[in-house]
Every structure is written in C-alpha cells, then in structure tokens.
C-alpha cells in the first residue's frame, strides 16, 4: 500500500519504504540547543502567521511553547536528574494524536522532541484548517532548523489501515495513543516490541466545582470574568475536549446554589452569544435528543434552555452517567462540601476545574480520592492549558529512560589509579 509523507516534505511512499525513512532520523540529547530553537521558532511563527492567529487554540499553543516556557521546562527537566540518575531519550516515539483536537499532536511531539526523541506522527487524511496551518508552519520551521533537530520528526498520513500502524508499532520504543477508549482498543491489536512502553489517553470526563458563597461574594465584573473563563474551557472545542467541563457542582446551601447557578449560567449563555458561538444544527438536534433522554433516565429536576446552552439540574449525583453529546450541555448539581464529591468520582474523571476553594481543601479531596480518579485540579480557565503533567503522567519523564548511575566505589576498591 501507499501512504503519504507530510513532513519533512510532502510525497507518497510505499509501505516498504517506511522503515528506512524512520531509521534515517537522528536522535538528540535532551534539550539540545537545536531542538529548543525549533520550539521557540515555531512559537514565533504561529504568533506572526495571519491565518494561525485566527485560532485561539493555536495562540494558546504558541504561548505555551514560547521561549520563557521552554527555558522553564528545561530547568524542570534538569531538576529531574540527580547524581545517580540520568534521563536519556527512549528513542523512537510513535504518536497517534486525535483527529479533532488539532493542537494535541504538537504538544505530544514537542515534549518527545525536547527530551531528545525521534518522532513519527500519524495524522488522519481528513484534517481541519488549523491542523493544516500547523503542518505548514512546522514544515517551514524544520526546513530552516539545524541538525540534529532538523531530521528527527516525520509525519505520515493514512486512513484506517492496520499495516502501517503494525509496522510502526513494532519499530517504536514508545507509543502514544490519544483518541479515547475505542482507539486505544483498536491500536492495541498491533503489538509493540517487548521493551517498548505505551502511553494511552482513554475517554475522560471533566467537571467543575464552585464554592457557592465565594461566587456570591464576587463583584459583577468578577462574575463576568469567571463566566468568560468557563466559556473558554467549555466551548473552544465544542465541549468535546476531555478536559472541558460538563458537570458543574456547587458547594453550599440549596438556596444559595440556586441563586448562584442561575446567575452564572445566564452569564455563560450571554458569553456564548457575545462570542457568536455557532453550533451546527445537527448537533443542536442531538443535544435535544440527549436532553430528553437524560430527563427520562436521570433525576433531572429542571431544564433551562438558552440559545446555545442547556443546563439540567440534578437532584442527586448517584449513578450519574458520563455520556455526553458536547456542544454546550451542562449538568448542574449541589453538594454541601467539596469532600462530599469524592463518593461520586469515577476512574473516568480527569480534570476538576475549581473556583473559590483553599489549597488545603483541594489537597484534602485528592487524599480522600487516593488515586481513584482525577488527574488534574486547575482553576476555572485553565482546563485546556496543556501541561507536562497530563492524565496522571509526567510526560517529561515518560518520554525518557532512567539510567541509574552508581558512581560510589564499593568497599574502598578504587579503579582510579593513584599516582
């Protein structure tokens, strides 16, 4: 079969040529100057590109990989290495990013590349506008880069064929599967080598918690700003990103929670209207079917429908279903305290965005959960902000092997000859 190479340059190749293509790329020392410069240069190009600037998620990406951030990342990496521990690249990383969150492939690739790995990325033949822009900018950036960074990245594109996936899986030292449970299941039909490792990103669910009295204590302006942050978290990817909130839990009394949530959601709806959020009619219909279905099967007490927003108030979180259609639908519930949330949390729950809680309260929740779920706790407004810590992994560490170096001589024997 044939497949398309998209980077370093666009061309078609036969499947049999793939191993040579991958083998030709070079490995680098972690945070080698050449690769650091690629990151910074890509960031600069995104900021300056007129097309790219139309996409807020691309600007977020560029901001995330600007120079200050890369320098900070390099320092964090150095601090992971102690005297007896040297982090070295795993080798070849095979990335299978999701088709629909366009920027993920760059985050995944960048952390692998900065830690010195070679990368092969599979993109779907159907690509969105922002993916094509990213691809173009990445191609331009790498074309002007110096070795060894210049040749460490290959991007290919093919459909649902198993052969290239099987081939690359057998060759790679680590495989990164984004894209949910079904994708993980399907890709796993192709084995990786015995010494390779796998990083998977299955389907996740995310929610927000807001302390009611803290919210009611906010000024008009602050409430607007919180609603704006929440809107960004939820709507940038049509509420379909794993870390976008779908359930909002208010902690406080019943009457306060009622007042606060009504105020909050009408502001979020206003924000959606203000930003001219557009929901495709087909999704709007799916949302209505989902809403009706939820009313039949769940303890929905009230349903408030705004133009692009549906809010369903639950009387209880017991047996809460994590199914969700996306596109601006929120469940709304109330608990007395944050710790009460623990019994309703399940393995699927990933990001908890919060407002109004003290650090001790958040830490207490993590301890109460004790690893059962929740991999990120970030303020409302940072749900989509990518981080080296993601889904319970430290990606800086995951992309490296850890070489143990014990340099202390045993029992007074020294090989260093004394002169």
């Amino acid at each position: 079969m044939q497949l398309k190479v998209l980077l370093p340059e666009e061309r078609s190749i036969e499947l049999e040529e793939l191993p040579d293509l991958v083998a030709a790329s070079a490995a680098i020392e972690p945070f080698d100057e050449s690769i650091v410069n690629v990151a910074i240069e890509l960031s600069r190009r995104i900021f300056q590109d007129e097309e790219a600037r139309k996409y807020p998620e691309l600007l977020a990406l560029a901001y995330w990989m600007r120079k200050t951030e890369i320098v900070r990342l390099a320092a964090q990496f150095r601090s992971l290495q102690l005297e007896d521990r040297v982090l070295v690249p795993r080798g070849l990383i095979f990335h299978l990013p999701p088709r629909n969150v366009d920027t993920i492939f760059v985050y995944s690739w960048l952390l692998a590349a900065l830690t010195g790995n070679r990368s092969i990325i599979r993109l779907s033949p159907q690509r969105s506008g922002s993916t094509s822009i990213l691809l173009r900018l990445l191609r331009e950036t790498l074309a002007t880069a110096v070795e060894p960074a210049r040749t460490g990245t290959i991007i290919v594109s093919y459909g649902h064929e198993e052969e290239p996936t099987a081939l690359l899986s057998a060759m790679c030292d680590a495989r990164v599967i984004w894209g949910g449970d079904q994708t993980v299941e399907i890709i796993r039909r192709s084995p990786i080598g015995p010494s390779a490792r796998e990083i998977t990103f299955p389907d996740r669910y995310s929610l927000s918690v807001i302390k009611t009295d803290a919210y009611l204590g906010l000024s008009e302006k602050q409430r607007e700003s919180l609603a704006h942050q929440f809107f960004n978290d939820a709507f940038w990817f049509d509420q379909m990103a794993c870390s976008s909130p779908r359930l909002v839990v208010w902690c406080g009394t019943d009457s306060e929670a009622r007042t606060a949530s009504t105020d909050f959601f009408s502001r979020v709806a206003g924000r959606a209207e203000h930003q001219h959020y557009f929901l495709p009619p087909a999704v709007s219909m799916q949302k209505l079917v989902f809403t009706c279905s939820a009313i039949i099967t769940s303890p929905v007490e009230e349903c408030q429908r705004y133009k692009d927003l549906t809010v369903m108030k639950l009387t209880s979180l017991t047996g809460f279903s994590r199914n969700h259609p996306g596109g601006g639908l929120f469940f709304n519930a109330r608990l007395d305290t944050l710790l009460d949330l623990a019994s309703f949390i399940s393995r699927k729950d990933q990001t908890l965005t919060w407002f109004g809680f003290a650090p001790a309260e958040l830490h207490a929740l993590v301890r109460r959960l004790n690893g059962r779920a929740i991999d990120r706790i970030v303020p409302i407004g940072r749900a989509l902000q990518f981080h080296r810590f993601w889904d319970g992994y430290d990606l800086l560490q995951e992309f490296c092997r850890c070489v143990h170096v014990d340099s202390a001589p045993v029992g007074g024997i020294s090989s260093v000859s004394e002169v």
Partner: protein, 358 residues
C-alpha cells in the same frame, strides 16, 4: 370540530386559522391524554416545558425530537393493547425508531391515509404498478419500512404488478404486459423516489413506454438524487418527456407519524391534510421562523393516540412558502422539504478511526 370531522371533511378544504383552532383543541386533548398515560411523556413535558401555560397556538404545544424514539420505547397504552410495534428502516449503524401502535391508532392511520390518497386518486381502486421487487414483501425476514410502505400503498390499487426483479432490474415484459392491459385508462404507479429514478426511469427511458394515463406517487427522500444533482423539477421533466407521465405526486412522511403524510399538490408544494400540520423552527433557538425562511420541520398530527408522537421535531429542513394561497386550490400551508440537516461532527478527543472501524 372533532378528529372524525377533520378526517372526513374534504382534505385541504379548511382555511389555516380554522384548521389551527380545531387542531389545537384536538392536540391539547391528546397531550393531556399522553401526560396521563405515559410517565415518560409526563416527565418530559414537565421538565422541558414547565413554564408554559395552556398553549394558545400550535407552536406552543410541547414537542419531542424524533430521534428520541430511537432511544426509548414511548407508549401510552398498556402492554395488552399493543397491536404492533413499527420500526423505521434506519441507516446502517443506527438504531431504528420504534413506534407503539394499538388497534385504534392503526385504524386511524389507515383511514387517514386513504382520505389523502383518494383526494389524489379518486374513490376507485386503480390498477397498480409497483416500482420495486415482489421479493421484498415475500421475504418476511427482511420486512422493513420499505416493505411496510409498499403493503400500505397496495391497498389503494388492484391487479398489482411489480416492475423490478430480485436484483432490482426492470422486468420489461411484465411492465409492457401491464400497460397493454391497463395503460388506456388511469392507473397508479408507486415506488420509492430513488428506485423510480435509478432502476426504472434510467433503465427504461428509451424503451418507448407510454405512462400518460399513469399517476405516480413516490416518496422516500431526495438525498440520493440530490447527490446525483437531480432536482424535483428535473425528475418531473424527465419522466414527463420520456414516458409521458404528467401526474406525479411526491409525499413526505415518516414511520413516526404513519398515516399523516404530506402529499404534493399540482403546484409541486407539499400540503398537510386537515388533521396534521407543519411548523418551521430555527434549529438553534427552536423558535418558529417567519414564512419563507428555512428551518427544522416540526410535524403535528392528531392521529398518534398510542404513543406521544403527535408533535415531533424532525431532522429535516423545510420552508413554508404560502398559506391559504396556493394556485392548486388547496388551503393551509404550502411547504417544501429542503433536505436533511447536514451531518456535523464536533471536535474532541475521540478519534474517528475508532468510530469508523467499530
């Protein structure tokens, strides 16, 4: 005016205002009935339409999305009164709609359909040519909405002849034989739009068939023909030119509201019968849109008594072109179906690789 009146009065004879007030009273009674008998419907209307007082117009009546019948079996009759459960054909990978019928509703549907058909065909059964394969209704394992449609329509004809073989190839001798026996006087042709076009017209356009006494009734949607860039006007013109067919009636209907179909008038627009209506809504706000503006079609029908499907928001887009002012003498709303709501896919973390393979 009762439901019986709406059914028995000449169809398309009521001015919109008069029809609306009669239909509104009937649909409010029907809503109350479903609230009493279906716990799910009672919950849905309470939660979704709670703030609404007694509806003052058809657009204020609670409605359900048609897709809900794919996920839930909604019934307003006891188990022992279930006469039949209708299933939509549904596209692959999709769950079919399931519609609960009791004897009363099934009878109403048959009666209503016949009132609509006789308005176009006259009171007598006509010889009938079916553009489909007889195997479809013989094979009970494959009995689906298409077969049900064929059987339902068969009631309006006699001396039935199926024009296609098992592989949906035309059987020219059968067709010629039918025409030599019945072609000199009015006869009925029925088939699904796409089959009429691709398996009958396209294969036989040069066969010299004379269908000038035929009345073609067809349905099933334009999607496949739109993909081939064939419009309703092209369809009419082609069949008229090649086969002399002049009377062609498309109809719009769905398994979720069997019986209350919307039949084309001579002006090419679709018309609701007395006991049904359409409302066009904005797909996002769900508010009714002004005449002339496209939107999602809501279909209303006074027939569904065994399931709460009397007001349904479809997944089709349509436009109301005129009210009480058609050129073919029909009163009420004249509308057309623009097509399905275009499929859309949200972005998100789930890759479509998986969705497609599984």
């Amino acid at each position: 005016m009762t439901l019986d009146d709406l059914i028995s009065l000449p169809q398309y004879s009521l001015p919109q205002a008069q029809k609306e007030s009669a239909l509104l009273a009937e649909l409010i009674r029907l809503s109350d009935r479903h609230v009493e008998r279906s716990a799910e419907y009672a919950r849905l209307t309470k939660v979704l339409f709670s703030g609404r007082s007694q509806p003052k117009s058809l657009s204020e009546l609670p409605y359900l999305p048609v897709g809900l019948f794919k996920e839930h079996l909604l019934s307003s009759v006891s188990q022992s009164d279930v006469f039949k459960i209708l299933e939509s054909s549904g596209t692959t990978g999709q769950r079919p709609s399931r519609i609960v019928l009791d004897r009363e509703t099934a009878q109403l549907q048959t009666l209503a359909l016949s009132r609509i058909m006789t308005s176009a065909l006259g009171p007598n059964r006509l010889p009938m040519l079916l553009i489909d394969s007889a195997d479809l209704i013989r094979d009970r394992r494959q009995f689906n909405a298409r077969a049900a449609g064929l059987l339902g329509m068969s009631n309006f004809g006699r001396n039935h002849v199926y024009a296609l073989d098992h592989d949906l190839e035309p059987i020219l001798p059968e067709v010629k034989n039918f025409l030599s026996r019945f072609g000199h006087a009015p006869f009925l042709i029925f088939g699904f739009t796409f089959l009429v076009w691709s398996r009958f017209y396209k294969q036989l356009e040069n066969a010299g068939l004379d269908l000038s006494n035929g009345i073609l009734i067809h349905s099933g949607g334009w999607k496949k023909l739109q993909d081939q860039a064939v419009s309703a006007a092209d369809f009419r013109a082609a069949l008229g030119n090649a086969m002399g067919l002049k009377r062609i009636y498309n109809f719009y209907g769905m398994v979720e509201q069997v019986g209350s179909i919307f039949l084309e008038g001579d002006d090419g627009y679709l018309y609701p019968p007395n006991f049904a209506d359409v409302i066009i809504r904005d797909p996002n706000t769900l508010e009714e849109v002004p005449q002339g503006q496209p939107g999602v079609i809501e279909v209303l029908s006074a027939l569904p008594r065994s399931y709460p499907g009397h007001c349904l928001l479809t997944e089709d887009l349509g436009v109301v072109h005129a009210v009480d002012s058609s050129s073919c003498g029909r009163l009420g709303k004249a509308f057309s179906v623009v097509g399905r709501i275009p499929a859309a896919e949200l972005r998100g973390c789930s890759d479509v690789i998986a969705a497609k393979v599984s």
